[in-house]
C-alpha cells in the first residue's frame, strides 16, 4: 500500500511537469503562429482602430510573460478561454463533443482487443500452419492500411454497394440510446446507435488490432519456448491451464502497455476517421478550428488530449505492475 502511494505521488509529480510543458508548448504555438486573432474576430471591413481595440481587449499587446501567466492561471483553474470564431467558452464546446470521440475510441479499443488476443494465441499455438500465415498477412495489411482509406472502402462496399449500414453521421449518443430503452422501452435508439458505430469502429480499430495481434503472437511464442512451460507440461498440467495461468499472464505486459498508450493514438486516428464519417467529435472540432485559425479551441483540444495521455500512462504502469510482479513500481 505504502509502495503504491509512493508510486502515485512520484508519478503525479512527474506528470505535472509534463502537463506544465504541454500548456507551455500550446501557448507558444498560438504565440508563434502567423495569425492575428484580432483580425479574425473583427468584421472584414473593420477599421484599424477597431482591430487595435480588440488587440488590447484580448491582451495581445501585453508582454509575453504576462500573457503566458494569465493563460497558465486560466488553464489551471479550468478556464480554456473563448473561441475566436464563436466567442463561446472552449471548455463547454469540448465537453459537448468529447463523448462522441470517447465512445468511438473505446469501441475501437474493445474491438481490437477482442479480435487480436484470441487470434494471436491461435496463431502462436498453430505456428507455421495456414491459419498462422493468413493471420500474419491480415495483420501486415492492417498495419499498412491508412485508416481513412479503409473507412472509405468499407463505406463503398458495405454502405454503397450492399446498402447494409448507414454511410455517416451520429444521430444518437450511447447515453441517449440507453435512456430511450429504459424510459420508453424503445430499443430503436440503441440499434440506430449501433448501426452508425460499426463502420467507424472497424476503420479506427483495425490498425490497432493488427498491432496487438503481432505483440500477442510474439509474446506467446517467446513464452512457450521457455523452460517453465516444459516443466509444467512434464508435470502433466492440462494445456489450457498452462496457457491461461502462465503463458498469457507473462506475455501480456507489452500488450497492456501498448493498449494504454494507443488510446492517444486512437484519438489521433479518430481525427481522420471522424472526417470520413462526419462524426461530430473532437477530431472534427480540431480540423474545423484549424481551418478557422481558432487557436483557443485547438489549444483546448490539445491540452485535454495531452493530459488524458499523461494520466492514462500512469494507470497503465500501475496495471502492468499488478499483473506482473517482476515489473517494479518505480
Amino acid at each position: 500500500m505504502r509502495e503504491e502511494v509512493q508510486f502515485f505521488v512520484s508519478r503525479s509529480l512527474q506528470g505535472i511537469v509534463v502537463i506544465w510543458g504541454i500548456i507551455t508548448a500550446v501557448f507558444m504555438f498560438r504565440f508563434i503562429s502567423p495569425t492575428n486573432p484580432a483580425r479574425l474576430i473583427a468584421p472584414d471591413d473593420a477599421s484599424e482602430e477597431l482591430v487595435r481595440a480588440i488587440e488590447i481587449d484580448l491582451g495581445l499587446n501585453d508582454p509575453i510573460l504576462i500573457q503566458y501567466v494569465s493563460y497558465l492561471t486560466g488553464v489551471v483553474q479550468g478556464d480554456l478561454g473563448f473561441s475566436y470564431s464563436t466567442n463561446t467558452p472552449v471548455r463547454g464546446r469540448i465537453i459537448q463533443v468529447l463523448p462522441a470521440t470517447l465512445e468511438l475510441a473505446f469501441a475501437a479499443l474493445i474491438f481490437a482487443v477482442i479480435v487480436s488476443i484470441p487470434l494471436g494465441i491461435i496463431s502462436a499455438t498453430h505456428r507455421g500452419t495456414k491459419i498462422d500465415s493468413v493471420a500474419n498477412l491480415t495483420s501486415l495489411g492492417g498495419v499498412s492500411t491508412p485508416n481513412f482509406w479503409l473507412a472509405i472502402m468499407l463505406v463503398l462496399l458495405i454502405s454503397v454497394q450492399l446498402g447494409l449500414l448507414p454511410t455517416s453521421g451520429r444521430p444518437i449518443g450511447l447515453g441517449e440510446g440507453i435512456r430511450m430503452l429504459i424510459f420508453q422501452a424503445n430499443i430503436g435508439g440503441l440499434t440506430t446507435w449501433l448501426s452508425h458505430m460499426i463502420l467507424p469502429t472497424i476503420a479506427l480499430g483495425t490498425y490497432f488490432m493488427a498491432l496487438l495481434f503481432r505483440l500477442t503472437r510474439n509474446g506467446v511464442l517467446e513464452e512457450l519456448g521457455k523452460e517453465y512451460v516444459l516443466a509444467a507440461r512434464g508435470k502433466g498440467l492440462p494445456n489450457p491451464l498452462i496457457m491461461y495461468r502462465y503463458v498469457l499472464r507473462n506475455s501480456l505486459t507489452p500488450v497492456v502497455t501498448v493498449t494504454g498508450l494507443q488510446l492517444g493514438g486512437l484519438i489521433g486516428g479518430s481525427v481522420v476517421v471522424e472526417a470520413v464519417f462526419a462524426w461530430p467529435g473532437i477530431g472534427r472540432l480540431f480540423i474545423t478550428s484549424l481551418n478557422l485559425s481558432d487557436w483557443p479551441m485547438m489549444q483546448g483540444v490539445l491540452i485535454i488530449v495531452g493530459v488524458g495521455y499523461v494520466v492514462t500512462n500512469i494507470f497503465v504502469d500501475y496495471i502492468n505492475s499488478s499483473l506482473n510482479p517482476q515489473v517494479e513500481l518505480a
Binding site: 511537469v17 509534463v18 510543458g21 504541454i22 508548448a25 500550446v26 504555438f29 508563434i32 503562429s33 502567423p34 501486415l140 495489411g141 498495419v143 499498412s144 492500411t145 491508412p146 481513412f148 482509406w149 472509405i152 472502402m153 463505406v155 463503398l156 454503397v160 490498425y207 498491432l211 494507443q262 492517444g264 493514438g265 484519438i267 489521433g268 486516428g269 481525427v271 481522420v272 472526417a275 470520413v276 480540431f286 480540423i287 484549424l290 485559425s293 487557436w295 485547438m298 483540444v301 490539445l302 488530449v305 495531452g306 495521455y309 499523461v310
Partner: protein, 332 residues
C-alpha cells in the same frame, strides 16, 4: 558506416526470407517510379479533358443505361462507357489520368518521406546522443521536452504544427522537363514544405529516445573510457565512438518510420493540408464524392499507399530480424 557484419546479416536474411525479398522489391519499385515519374506516366497528371471524364479502368465498365433529355423528351439511352488501354486505370472527374496521378503521387510521398526522415534522423540523433552521453540535468531537460511531444497523438500535433508554420510550398524544377528530355509534363515538382517540417518536428522524438538509450549503453564501454583518458574531446568521442556503435538501431527505426510518415502525409493531404494536388491522399479525398458511380477514383491511390507501406514494413521487419536491435516502433 555500415559494417561488413551488418551487410552479411542483412543479405543472409534476404536469402532465407521470401517476404523480405518482396518488400525490398516493392521499395526499389517505388523509388524507381518516384524518380522517373515523368518518363513512366503515360499522360500529364494535370491535363484535363472534358470529353474523357469518369472512364473506368481498362477491361471494366461497359454499356450503361441512363435517362437524359434528347430532343426535348426524356429518353432511356444506352451509353458505351467501357475502359480503354489509353487510360489503364481510368480517368477522374476532370478527365485526368488516374495512373499518371498515382505515379506522380508516389513522387510527392517519397519527397516528403525521405526529407522528413533525414531531418528527424539528424535532429533526433543529435538530441538523443547529447542527452544520453552527458546525462544529468541536460538529459532531464531534453527528455522532459521529448515527453511533452510524445504526450500528443502524432497526427494531432502535426496538424497543430501546420497551424503554427502556415502554408509554405517550394517549387523544384523537374530535371526531365528542364533538360528537354520530356515535354507535356508539369515543369516543376511541388515540395510541400509545411507538412514535411511538421512531420519531422514530431517524428524525431522517437529517434531521440532510441539514440539516447544507445548512447547510455555505449558510453560506459571501455574504449570510450580509454578515449577519454587519452584526452579526446566529448564531441570527438561521440562522433568517433558512440555514434558508429549505436547507429544500427537508429537506422532501422528510421526505415520503419518512413511507413508512418507516408501514412501521416496521406492523411494530411486527405484532410486538405497537402499544399499540392498531386498526392495520393488528395486524390482519395476527391474520389469520395463519386463512390457510388466511380469506385476506382478513391480505390486506386489507396492501393498504391498500401503497397508502398507494405513494402517498407516488410523491409523493416527484415532489418529488424537480421540485426535484432530490440526497439519498439514509432506509431502513428
Amino acid at each position: 558506416m555500415i559494417s561488413k557484419r551488418t551487410r552479411t546479416a542483412v543479405l543472409k536474411e534476404l536469402h532465407s526470407n521470401k517476404l523480405a525479398t518482396v518488400g525490398t522489391a516493392l521499395i526499389l519499385c517505388m523509388l524507381f517510379v518516384g524518380m522517373f515519374a515523368p518518363v513512366l506516366a503515360p499522360h500529364d497528371p494535370t491535363q484535363q479533358d472534358n470529353s474523357q471524364t469518369h472512364q473506368p479502368p481498362a477491361f471494366m465498365g461497359g454499356e450503361t443505361e441512363t435517362t437524359r433529355l434528347v430532343d426535348g423528351e426524356m429518353q432511356t439511352v444506352t451509353e458505351d462507357n467501357s475502359g480503354s488501354l489509353t487510360h489503364p486505370l481510368g480517368t477522374d472527374t476532370n478527365g485526368r489520368d488516374v495512373l499518371s496521378r498515382a505515379i506522380y503521387g508516389a513522387r510527392t510521398s517519397l519527397l516528403v518521406a525521405l526529407t522528413a526522415m533525414m531531418a528527424s534522423l539528424i535532429l533526433g540523433t543529435s538530441v538523443g546522443m547529447t542527452a544520453g552521453y552527458f546525462g544529468g540535468k541536460t538529459d532531464t531537460i531534453l527528455m522532459r521536452f521529448v515527453d511533452v511531444v510524445l504526450a500528443f497523438p502524432a497526427l494531432l500535433i502535426t496538424l497543430a504544427m501546420i497551424g503554427v508554420i502556415g502554408p509554405l510550398t517550394f517549387f523544384i524544377p523537374d530535371p526531365f522537363v528542364t533538360s528537354g528530355l520530356i515535354t507535356d509534363r508539369p515543369t516543376h515538382m511541388v515540395f510541400p514544405v509545411t507538412i514535411t517540417a511538421a512531420i519531422a518536428a514530431v517524428i524525431w522524438v522517437w529517434i531521440a529516445r532510441v539514440a539516447r538509450s544507445e548512447a547510455i549503453r555505449v558510453k560506459n564501454e571501455e574504449y570510450v573510457t580509454a578515449a577519454r583518458t587519452m584526452g579526446r574531446s566529448n564531441f570527438g568521442i561521440i562522433r568517433k565512438h558512440v555514434l558508429p556503435n549505436s547507429i544500427t538501431p537508429i537506422l532501422v527505426l528510421a526505415t520503419i518510420q518512413v511507413a508512418s510518415i507516408i501514412i501521416i502525409e496521406s492523411s494530411l493531404s486527405f484532410l486538405g493540408f497537402a499544399g499540392t494536388n498531386l498526392s495520393w491522399g488528395y486524390d482519395i479525398a476527391q474520389g469520395r464524392d463519386y463512390l457510388g458511380t466511380s469506385w476506382w477514383l478513391s480505390t486506386i491511390p489507396g492501393l498504391f499507399i498500401v503497397i508502398a507501406v507494405v513494402g517498407i514494413n516488410l523491409f523493416g521487419d527484415l532489418l529488424r530480424d537480421a540485426l535484432d536491435p530490440g526497439i519498439d516502433r514509432g506509431e502513428v
